[in-house]
Symmetry: C2
Subunit: 191 residues, 2 copies
Amino acid sequence: MRKSRSETAETRRRIVEAAAEAFRANGIHATGLADVMAAVGLSHGGFYRHFDSKDQLVAEACEAGTASVLDALAAAAGGCEGEECLRAVVDAYLSPAHRDAPAVGCPLAGMGSELVRGDENTRAAAARSVDTLVTLLAERVGNPEEEANRSWAIFALSAMVGALTLARLIADPVASAALLDEVRQRIVVAR
Amino acid sequence: MRKSRSETAETRRRIVEAAAEAFRANGIHATGLADVMAAVGLSHGGFYRHFDSKDQLVAEACEAGTASVLDALAAAAGGCEGEECLRAVVDAYLSPAHRDAPAVGCPLAGMGSELVRGDENTRAAAARSVDTLVTLLAERVGNPEEEANRSWAIFALSAMVGALTLARLIADPVASAALLDEVRQRIVVAR
DNA sequence: TGTACATCAGTGAACGCGCGTTCACTGATGTAC
DNA sequence: TGTACATCAGTGAACGCGCGTTCACTGATGTAC
């Protein structure tokens, strides 16, 4: 049953991807390893050929989820790099589409309160996710190394993560969309 | 073994309080009913004399946690009601003390991503929590019924919930405190 | 290049454990007369 | 006010179930000669 090295690497990648989706959609604790392995079409016993523990998978899933969100936001900005695309990134993050698709959305919003209680590696990965997203936002308003730009980006990311979480809590679609709209406008103005 | 009505009510209240603390500190899924009952000094079997299900307890714990945070923030404002106390409320919410005491802190930050996946009653309770905190903030900048004040308060609460979550993810105490400071200042300025 | 052997990805059963929930039981409280 | 009985808060064992993790096994892949 042994697989070739490239197949093994591909399987591992698919496990991380499936985990990243399941953790964001259903929560870390509520998602079993058997669920993740089944999503990839494997039995759960083989999990430990790829990972030491569920904690390790959580940390990697956080990284993978962040990378996918980063790609999606960069794509939404259409490849431009200046301030003119700031609105595109913020609009994409605070869209009803993002709110309604947590499985492929921001891990900080989808599993933020569970990441806080993760192990050391998980929290380190989550902290890197914060840094990555802060840099993405800072780039939209100028040099991402400049203190003022990072400072604004930290503020913007906080508001974005919080707004997405709150928007998902509010069942009324009108009120939820209104919350997203208001935060969206104020973030751009706050720059 | 039967208890008097007032004792029964008091026991029920203590279960909700203990649950509110445990859920915020350790997460909803990670906290067992036996843990909660043990914290109150009871065996787990008696739980169902007070509640229909764990879900019901989660919803009530969300409400109770919000009430306690509301009290704490009102106390931080020192009883004054005008705009001059806005800073006191925001400072209290975005303080290292709040960050380091999730058990008695804001439920939206402490268990936000788990509340999103709660049942109907839980999400309704969480949505009421959002509304309650928005009103508290709106009151600090004027008439809480006025659209402009509510709109700002929604933005402020989003930034506050997000910032507290991110601050808890960042292990480095200097970077974490810096994030809180920056968001704190910008929220007040954004008014 | 071909052969012999070591490696190891994946299977499926099993491990101990804790979960939410149920239940028979106890005995103090509440109620009806 | 006092007595007899119904109620029910709390106990502790048990229910079925799913969890993370381990393990003996299979057989294709990788490696050494």
